[in-house]
Assembly symmetry: C2
Homo-oligomer: 333 residues x 2
Amino acid sequence: MTARRPTVVQVAERAHVSIATVSRVLNGKLARPSSTERVLAAAAELGYVPDATGRSLRMGRSLQIAFAVDDVGNPVYTEMLSGVEDGMAGSGSRLSVASTGHNPADLMALIDELSRGYADGLIISPLRRTPELIQALVDAAVPTVVVGSLDAGAPLDTVRIDSGLGVRQAYEHLVDTGRRRIAFVGGPPDTAPGSARLNAFRLAGSEFGCAGPVVQAQGFTVTAGEQAWLELAGLTGRRRPDAVLAANDLLALGVMRAAKSAGRRIPSGLAVAGIDDIQFARIFSPSLTSVSLKARERGRLAARLLLGRIAAPGAPTRTEQVEPELIIRESTS
Amino acid sequence: MTARRPTVVQVAERAHVSIATVSRVLNGKLARPSSTERVLAAAAELGYVPDATGRSLRMGRSLQIAFAVDDVGNPVYTEMLSGVEDGMAGSGSRLSVASTGHNPADLMALIDELSRGYADGLIISPLRRTPELIQALVDAAVPTVVVGSLDAGAPLDTVRIDSGLGVRQAYEHLVDTGRRRIAFVGGPPDTAPGSARLNAFRLAGSEFGCAGPVVQAQGFTVTAGEQAWLELAGLTGRRRPDAVLAANDLLALGVMRAAKSAGRRIPSGLAVAGIDDIQFARIFSPSLTSVSLKARERGRLAARLLLGRIAAPGAPTRTEQVEPELIIRESTS
DNA sequence: TTGTAGGCGTTATCAT
DNA sequence: ATGATAACGCCTACAA
């Protein structure tokens, strides 16, 4: 911790070779067996480990990947992060995590920071996909992979999932199980998932004809879900919903909690379904029916995509598609 | 993304000064106003941003902090991570996250990796504090802050919390609310929190005399908690517990879920309390009584400690202490 | 096969 | 106040 770490120079001296030979041996290039042996021995004795910064400077690669996450409090991002780590396994790169909070400026600052060269690429799953953000990502100093659907125009690698299809699956399931007045608790409408899922709900509503009231929550949080329930709770008669479809699991959990406190029975009095299938969805009582958006798999794919892009910067942009999957649990059956 | 980024050389040429002056101006050292102005203008026009790698090499600092987490699936670590980010705010350093899984070798490899100089320090909250691990941390290439209690001997900065006191608080609360046969669901006994909390439970038991059966779970997970309940469920008569104290919230949630499925009423038939006070503890039904171990605060303090250590490597080791806090909710009252 | 030397981008010393 | 230059640790032509 105190002693200065040995460098190629120390190793070279000890092995009685030049630093070039040291570097070659350590990087697996060919060298005379005797030299190889001496270098390896010297390196081992000295406890030599190549310096990441020196190597980065020389190679022009930091061997780091940045992952920007909007809301660390949402388990879905933890799962995605876990997937990113999986996808990076064996790549030799490390993971730099930045939570950008809910401040768009933070995110822009992060993208700017990339031009410092501390990461070779960025994985991002932005809640708000504004044109400015997309443009910033396209112009970023390093390649970016977006987890989320983009207009075909943007020259960016993406990992997509049709969350609208997920909404439809949940909706259909609610109808199949006899619900006839399905309320929707949407996320903030200015977010990509917020608007996409609301649209899908409206579409499903016009097809199946069981759409009930729509509430826009302030965020994708449990608290917002609880508040959303308050708006729903007052409705009576024909406006009173027999099911709630929420734009994500945290909202659904909030709705369930508030509805239960208010004396509603779930699922007999009210069915509730969410989206994301976070790990806790299974644990709740009643356990929450939810549409898995395969966060982990998306993270894994994003990492593969990014590593591929870094290896071949000129290759045509790619898109990976993942399919949503309805997981039926107690809250609807 | 394609064009090579400008360096001090470009800026210097454009401003008609030397690279030394560019560096000085950009780092806020004194310079003639006219030079300052020209340099700033040139830098702005070129969109110059200092390269992190070049700076790191020269400064001998990577401006990165590593955070090693045993189990990303446990929200308590997400909260701690969040605290670490808070504590690092404004320091100019970035956060590198590595989840070491449950493989001790991974962790050792991570510590070895530190000697590559990719981080200036490490924050770690290890489940298993073996002598080998502690020694490795002491010998690590960069300073380490341990979130957890260590023997006084180890020359490491630490953030402590008396989780035994937390166990006692919960135990006392259960006794106060009339429970007379308190079961304990402990984590793996070879982990630091596993053994510390079990010991505290035994101590409280001998003091208050209401200790019931003890179950050792395989891990600190919901699933392990569900399995633990299975062991408890068969007990009858005098061995049948009227309360369960679990070594962490995930275990407690698992116990609650399994007990409810088995028809036990909570808290009337069985009281359940956990430890950690993860965000979801509040959301469950019934909401979970838990002892907050201030994960976020501990993360924040760890970051401060580490930054201080990096700034003053020779300073005496420090320990921050945080107090546990019992949060009473529905699962016990 | 091996060594010398240059350069990646930055900061800091030492003259001027 | 400023400029030339060295140095951080590494890899890799290029020359021998």
